[in-house]
Amino acid sequence: MKTLSKIYNGIIFTFLYAPIVVLIVYSFNDSKNRVQWGGFTLDWYRDLFSNELILESLAVTLQIAVLAAIISTVIGTMAAVGIFNMNGRLRRAMESLNNIPMVNPEIVTGISMMLMFVAIYRATGLLQPGFATLLIAHITFCIPYVVLQVMPKLRQMNKHMYEAALDLGCTPFAAFFKVVLPEIMPGVITGALMAFTMSLDDFVISYFNSGSTAQNLSVTIYSMTKKPVTPEVNALSTLMFGSVLILLVIVNARQVRDLKKQKERR
């Protein structure tokens, strides 16, 4: 039974990683052709750093991801605290508001925002589709993830600790930052990380909201998949994959450490 499950897991992981291996291998392929192997080369990595289109899109992607993660984490954490202290109908209303972008098909979310941005731009000349609209769209679909990550941590927290801090003379603000925030911090961090990832990888919503001036990596890659994709993109994604791998290993190590700490505390 054990070997059977090992074989099964192996098959699934092969399925998950097959295209990734292909991408990484082709980033070293000395032929533009997708199928033939033309020998080992590092040329695509060199070309990558002179390909302005890709570098520009990378810059846009990173800027958007960082800004969207920060802003959505701030708004989302505040929202979670607020919603946590609500009751009844208001709370349910807020929760369903939070659920809209989560349950809506992405394409509908993207289109609905595009229609609104265009309407605003046509009426006022403000918010020309571009960086700003892309950022707003990303913040909007990131917020729910943050809220959903922070909420359970608030639920787990001992309510009396906040009251105790108030009783001991803390201002509500100080009590929040000194008592509540450290308790919910793991949720905030995972929320921020998740927002960052979601923003980094988003295509559908960006596709409809990037205008003519701010294309992120996904949109650029999409315009490339219509013609032969240049292998520079494979090189870039290999680099990104490598850095994410390192990042995840660090996060993982940190989580394992936290786990041990928790055990000690118990």
Partner: protein, 271 residues
């Protein structure tokens, strides 16, 4: 009292950027090019009813395959030691960090007539014509959304109390009975959120059908996309199509939710 106010920026933001856009979609769906009220767009959708059915069917197929593939994997992860669990979850999540368009594009080079898989199969005298068919599209969906099925399943299973299973064993249940009577009911919330997270994006995709399906059969996402970005060029019909898609998805979802009244397990996804 004050604390509730901290949700104000959220309420304002989400109100402006999700509720108002939905209202605009609604408005577009029920007006013509000149802004006058009309039901023509909704009527015009009738001709796409077959496409809705096809898309929902293919999405459902991909969801079921995902569930069948993910369930044993999630179960085996959940029953490992805690640090092994963490590593395996990381291995499941890692592919999601590579651009999804590129991964789908890589599948194209794997599946093509002269692609890698056919090169290998050719060695033993076989050939698999799958590229640019519905099967390739379903495969692409399963591939892209499988982690969204594994993770919620895993997070529910990891929380399962082992003592319940032991109790069942003590009471003389065999493995099959334990799976059916104990594990399956306990993992129901995970199944619900996994199915939701796979089904909705699978039904509404427009990229996978383009890259792996050779744009041969439009899915409903393709039709909507073409109304806004392609040959179709009709926002009113496009908005009406989106509206109907949204309503259909909400119906499917509430049917799912009825199966399980538990809380949303999404929160446990990254834990």
């Amino acid at each position: 009292m004050k604390k509730r106010l901290s949700a104000a920026p959220f309420a304002v933001w989400m109100g402006i950027f999700t509720v108002v856009p939905m209202a605009i979609v609604l408005w577009f769906a029920f007006t013509d090019e000149n802004g006058a009220f009309t039901l023509r767009n909704i009527a015009e959708i009738w001709q796409y009813s077959g496409t809705y059915v096809d898309s929902i069917w293919m999405g459902a197929l991909a969801t079921v395959i995902c569930l069948v593939l993910a369930y044993p994997l999630a179960l085996s992860i959940a029953r490992k030691a805690e640090h092994v669990q963490r590593t395996m979850v990381m291995i499941v999540m890692l592919p999601m960090w590579m651009n999804f368009l590129l991964r789908t594009y890589a599948w194209m080079s794997l599946l093509e007539e002269n692609g890698l898989i056919n090169h290998l199969l050719g060695q033993i005298g076989l050939h698999w014509s799958i590229i640019n068919t519905d099967a390739a599209v379903v495969l692409g969906m399963v591939y892209n959304f499988l982690p969204f099925m594994i993770l919620p399943l895993y997070s529910v299973m990891a929380k399962m109390d082992n003592r319940v299973i032991e109790a069942a064993q003590d009471l003389g249940s065999n493995n099959w009975q334990i799976l059916r009577r104990v594990i399956l009911p306990l993992s129901a919330p995970g199944i619900v959120s996994g199915v939701t997270m796979v089904f909705v994006p699978a039904v509404s995709t427009f990229v996978i059908s383009k890259l792996l399906g050779g744009s041969k059969y439009m899915m409903i996402g393709d039709v909507i996309e073409s109304m806004f970005m392609g040959d179709g060029c009709n926002y009113n019909v496009g908005a009406a199509l989106s509206l109907v898609l949204m309503v259909l998805m909400l119906i499917c979802m509430s049917l799912m939710r009825r199966v399980d009244n538990g809380e949303d397990e999404l929160g446990g996804m990254m834990a």
